[in-house]
């Protein structure tokens, strides 16, 4: 679901084809019939933005028919735990949970907590501003008292236990509801439920794959939560052939979140300190929690080692390891907020590194206007992308909004070396680091990122040398002596070794994060990567063929953490440590040797027996029982219900997308009540029910990729062999919609939203289906987003159609579903274009208020 795997991950898709050849059944649930659907056993078309309704239907099917994997659910999830009395569900509040503050559009999760646990973080609005849940990334959110005995009902009958709350919450997600909301015929939905449940349990497992079709929604995190709930109920997490696969959107983007390029994270998903942290102690207290289980307890070791890596000998116990050098955030510094700040004149410089927001980010016009208001812009890329040339050839130049002679931005373009012209690691979806060697020397002025930043840092240090200003110390004190090779190129291997971490006294590479200390004797650039250079061997460079090793190929590359291939694989054995079945054994307890063993590196303390129970008052890893597989969670269990850490509700709930032609059939609450909107004149929204005039933009549209091009097209539209495979921007419409709007195959049409009009050639295809939703027909429209003005093949920028509204948990924009109109013929050009759009906005009655009334539930005023 939410993935076109054959299209966007064709090489990875060979394993799906292989699985099919071995008898697996593949379902593809997607608004469009794509190249993935062509090879699936069954394609299930559904309305874009209704995945939670579908998944909710599956959850309801499981719970109503008793199809859950009972022993797994009882032992490994928080199903038995009791939630506090004050909790009120969407059933009670017409689509809202308890604790909602309509003023700030955010929740205080206090009422969602377990009866016997509390959380320090009840800071609804601040958490929403900083996307705090993202900061708990690879581990669990804090939950005080997670290590204590939590009030529970092991029989799962108590009305306030998680299991019963789940049942009640999803009771209205019936197959009829799924048909009404999603447009999925009953028989097809039943087929999916049957197949999913029949292929789960002791003997069989089912895997769930998703990609940006799930994440790029105003409640994307909840989509994934819904999928995870199903997989937990069916016992598919931590088991071979099961799991939830997030297919990332770029090569190595996993690496760019592990060693992050995100404003609110430090490497290894440590949170970025913010202005509420008085110092290192208050920061660590927040992260470690007090009475929690799990490995976040050792966050002090991870942080101190990171600070030692940053500032080397300058970081000492006396100065709190230079913790004060770290910048603090104090709000939303996400990319969209930053661009808006550029327009508002608050940001004056920008580095773009292999990123093309003029084409690739939502609301292209906003991006370009932002960049046009900078003092300087540095672009590093393989080709002269639109974000570097916007000042002379963007659509705004044509409309007159940007005048090249007066645009104040000074653009510096640095040619970049490609991945074959430098050595380093890729980290992909599987969390695997694979080392690549340099194959050819870069030409001319092309250089690697590593070279650029190393020398930038070096030059900044030289320029600041001798300064007595305290503000310069963080730069001056950086531990910057990486080894150079081939002249002045920093050694990627040396950097990787420092990321792995070293024992400073003996200058020895560490073997893993358990070796990290909080006393300053270790330095480590990213604690989850620790182990990649164990024994001074570049583990990421290992390439033992699969024919020469076991089924989990532990000696090809290196996965974090600790080369464990299947996370939470403790769950592949029952509470007593025996595999759930012979057929599905993965790791198990070897009583004779007193250790966990199996086909994969156990994701568990090697010698902790299954019947281990912690001493009273224990916390951290010591508090994990022998049957707590979810070792990063504060209570060691998989969360069906999330008492903390998710800003828009403890349970996934179907809300309509921010822009939708349909009134939410399930609740009065129309959209995600906690979604982040940015009410600005330059960020209008199309109206959605209960707002009036939504029929001005009556069609649902979605945007995605083609195999032949790569994201914003910077790497593919320059190449003749790719450009000729998909030479022009096109829009896919069903024959029915073509008839309704007078669209002719291969003629021009233009898609209109309140932000932009984009022209494209028409592709009439039966792969796009109109859906019967409630009492009407909803048409869907689809475009690929790879085109911009530069390159061998050019076209309009499709992302101009979207506005900015983001998921509150992770700040991802909703760019997979919105509403639009489509008309035959080419779009207006020049100043006629803004006039055309203004006329649409007027007809739709769009004002600054549109799309900003988040609370539409029965109890609201709106």
């Amino acid at each position: 679901m939410g993935s076109n795997m054959a299209e966007a991950h064709p090489v990875g898709f060979q394993w799906v084809v292989e699985a099919k050849a071995r008898g697996a059944t593949v379902f593809h649930i997607d608004p469009r019939f794509t190249r993935t659907s062509a090879l699936a056993d069954r394609h299930v078309p559904l309305r874009a933005g209704t995945d939670i309704a579908f998944l909710g239907g599956v959850i309801n099917h499981i719970l109503s028919n008793g199809l859950e994997f009972r022993e797994y659910v009882e032992a490994y999830t928080n199903a038995p735990f009791l939630v506090r009395e004050e909790f009120a569900d969407t059933e009670d509040l017409d689509g809202l949970f308890s604790g909602y503050d309509p003023e700030s559009g955010s929740y205080d999760p206090a009422s969602w907590h377990y009866e016997s646990a509390t959380a320090r973080e009840g800071r609804g609005e601040r958490a929403r501003e900083q996307s705090s849940p993202y900061q708990h990334g690879s581990g669990g959110p804090p939950l005080e008292g997670g290590a204590d005995e939590i009030a529970a009902d092991p029989s799962l009958e108590h009305p306030r236990c998680v299991f019963q709350i789940l049942k009640r919450h999803f009771a209205r997600y019936t197959p009829e509801m799924v048909e009404r909301v999603c447009g999925v015929p009953r028989e097809l939905f039943d087929e999916v439920c049957r197949a999913w449940t029949e292929n789960s349990g002791r003997e069989r497992t089912a895997a769930l794959v998703y990609s940006v079709g799930w994440t790029q929604h105003s409640m994307g995190a909840q989509y994934i939560r819904a999928g995870s709930i199903i997989q937990l109920l069916l016992g598919n997490i931590g088991r071979p052939g099961g799991g939830v696969f997030a297919l990332r959107g770029h090569a190595s983007i996993q690496g760019s979140t592990d060693i992050p390029t995100l404003f609110n994270l430090l490497p290894g998903y440590l949170p970025m300190p913010d202005t509420s942290h008085e110092g290192i102690d208050s920061y660590l207290q927040l992260v470690r929690g007090d009475r929690q289980k799990g490995f976040w307890r050792n966050a002090d070791a991870y942080l101190v080692s990171l600070l030692k890596e940053y500032w080397g000998e300058h970081a000492t116990a006396d100065n709190d390891w230079c913790f004060e050098y770290l910048p603090r955030i104090n709000g939303d510094h996400g990319t969209y907020r930053t661009v808006m700040d550029m327009i508002d004149g608050k940001v004056f410089g920008y580095f773009l590194l292999g990123q093309n927001p003029a084409v690739g980010s939502a609301h292209g016009r906003l991006q370009r206007l932002g960049m046009a208001n900078l003092d300087w812009l540095v672009v590093r890329d393989l080709a002269m992308i639109e974000s570097a040339t916007f000042w002379k050839d963007s659509p705004e130049v044509e409309t007159g909004e940007i005048v090249p002679e007066r645009c104040r931005t000074e653009v510096f373009f640095f040619p970049a070396a490609s991945h074959v012209e430098k050595s380093g690691t890729f980290t992909q979806t599987q969390r695997m680091l694979q080392w690549r060697d340099k194959a050819v020397e870069p030409k001319g002025d092309q250089r690697s990122e590593l070279w650029f930043f190393y020398h930038l840092g070096r030059i900044l240090k030289e320029k600041l040398a001798g300064s007595s200003d305290e503000r310069d110390r963080p730069v001056l004190d950086l531990w910057w002596d990486y080894r150079l090779e081939d002249g002045d190129e920093p050694s990627g291997a040396d950097v990787l070794r420092r990321i792995n971490g070293v024992d400073l006294a003996r200058d020895r590479a560490l073997t893993g994060y358990p070796e990290l200390k909080s006393d300053g004797s270790t330095a480590c650039g990213c604690w989850i990567y620790s182990g990649v250079f164990a024994d001074e061997v570049n583990q990421a460079a290992r390439r033992k063929p699969h024919t020469e090793q076991g089924p989990y190929e532990s000696e090809w590359g290196w996965t974090w953490p600790m080369n464990r291939r299947v996370l939470y694989n403790r769950a592949s054995a029952d509470p007593r440590g025996r595999p759930w079945s012979e057929r599905k054994k993965l790791v198990w307890w070897d009583a004779g040797k007193g250790e966990w063993t199996g086909f994969d590196v156990p994701d568990f303390e090697a010698t902790k027996p299954p019947d281990y129970r912690p001493a009273p008052g224990a916390s951290g890893p010591e508090a994990l029982c022998g049957d707590d597989p979810f070792i990063m969670q504060a209570d060691g269990k998989g969360w069906l219900f999330a008492p903390n850490g998710v800003l828009d509700g403890p349970l996934p709930t179907h809300y309509e997308p921010h822009e939708s032609p349909v009134r939410n059939p399930l609740y009065g609450q129309q959209g995600n009540p906690a979604r982040k909107v940015y009410p600005r004149a330059d960020n209008p929204s199309n109206p959605s029910p209960p707002e009036l005039h939504s029929e001005v933009f009556p069609f649902v549209f979605s945007v995605a990729r083609l195999t032949e091009h790569h994201t914003a097209g910077g790497m593919s539209r320059q190449l003749p062999y790719l450009a000729e495979l998909q030479p022009e921007l096109f829009v896919e419409v069903s024959p029915e919609l073509a008839a309704e709007r007078g669209l002719v195959h291969l003629d021009w049409a233009h898609v209109v939203t309140s932000r932009a009009a984009v022209e494209a050639r028409v592709l009439v295809t039966e792969r796009m289906r109109p859906l019967r939703i409630e009492d009407r027909v909803v048409h869907q429209v689809w475009l690929p987003y790879h085109w911009g003005q530069t390159g061998l093949v050019a076209g309009d920028v499709v992302n101009d159609l979207f506005g900015v509204v983001v998921d509150p948990n992770v700040f991802i924009q909703e760019s997979k579903v919105a509403t639009c109109d489509i008309r035959p013929g080419r779009r207006p050009r020049g100043p006629a274009l803004p006039a055309y759009l203004a006329e649409y906005r007027e007809r739709a009655g769009i004002t600054l208020e549109t799309g900003t009334h988040l609370d539409t539930s029965r109890g609201s005023e709106g």
Binding site: V17, P720, Y721, H745, V764, P770
Partner: protein
């Protein structure tokens, strides 16, 4: 009756004069696992330095290559086939291409769903190759691997091969004048490597290897598909008794060949050479007889 021009021929390379040669190799393209990614098209062009073929949106589903040619040695075809019951109004002139959608007429009874056929087409390297037979310069030749290759330094662009191919594969390159087609990566074969397209194909739709092995594998695959209820799966070009003696590159198709743009019953033109020359001989004799007879008798 088999002879070196048609009918079963087990050893084309031997027939062509190689005393010792490696086993015949070729492609088995299993289109049931093709994901239409076109990696084959790109890998082929990269390896062989084939020029791009123009940037035109053809509107044939995702096929913007159109057909095999001098500048397209791999071509991925896309066929969208009907689905049951739609929410549709009366048929209207939509400017859709003015032919039936492939598969719309004469459909398959076993198919009940919407489907999207994808298939990577290539030169068939026929056992009896029409192009090779008619080449007057010897530019086209049979390699020791059983494949058919054009030598660009000999070809004088007479274009006869273009009309000799019953599959419409080989063509003359416009600005260049010579005929070009897939070489089965002859240079890679000689170094013990597999062709670029087979190497790049992520799902192993394009399988390369000794032809015997491929034929066995294909037979098993078709059986497996039939057992799984895919009755329309069939092999194309695999039969050594067909009109070209079987192809060096054969296919597993999920519909009739013409749906993919392939001829239903290709025959190497040389098959009828004997008969053709016979008739020509008779006509030539008649010509002579007439020419002689008009000089007898009186009158001018």
């Amino acid at each position: 009756m088999a002879n070196s021009f048609h009918g079963r021929l087990d050893d084309p390379a031997g027939e062509a004069g190689y005393a010792q040669h490696p086993p015949r190799v070729g492609f088995f393209t299993d289109t049931s696992v093709c994901i239409g990614c076109k990696a084959c098209e790109v890998a082929c062009k990269e390896w062989n330095g084939v020029p791009d073929d123009g940037f035109d949106l053809l509107g044939m589903s995702f096929d913007n290559t159109g057909e095999l040619g001098a500048n397209s040695w791999r071509h991925v075809a896309f066929v969208e086939q009907e689905r049951p019951g739609a929410v549709s109004p009366e048929p209207v002139e939509l400017g859709l291409p003015s032919f039936d959608l492939p598969g719309a007429s004469g459909g398959e009874q076993t198919r009940t769903d919407f489907r999207w056929l994808m298939s990577s087409d290539v030169c068939k390297h026929c056992t009896h190759a029409g192009c090779l037979d008619v080449c007057p310069t010897g530019a086209l030749f049979r390699t020791e691997f059983g494949s058919v290759v054009v030598q660009p330094d000999i070809c004088n662009g007479c274009g006869y091969c273009v009309s000799g191919c019953p599959y419409g594969v080989i063509d003359r390159r416009e600005d260049d004048g010579r005929a070009w087609k897939c070489t089965l990566c002859y240079d890679r074969l000689r170094d013990g490597l597999e062709p670029a397209c087979a190497k790049a194909c992520p799902t192993d739709s394009i399988q390369f290897g000794p032809l015997d092995e491929l034929r066995e594998r294909a037979a098993r695959r078709v059986d497996a598909l039939h057992e799984a209820g895919v009755a329309e799966a069939r092999l194309y070009g695999e039969d050594p008794d067909d009109g070209v003696g079987g192809d060096g590159a054969f296919f597993l198709l999920l519909d009739e060949p013409e749906v993919y743009g392939l001829p239903p019953d290709p025959v190497v033109p040389t098959r009828f050479a004997g008969s053709m020359w016979k008739y020509a001989g008779v006509a030539a004799s008649a010509f002579v007889a007439a020419a002689v007879s008009v000089f007898f008798g009186r009158g001018g």
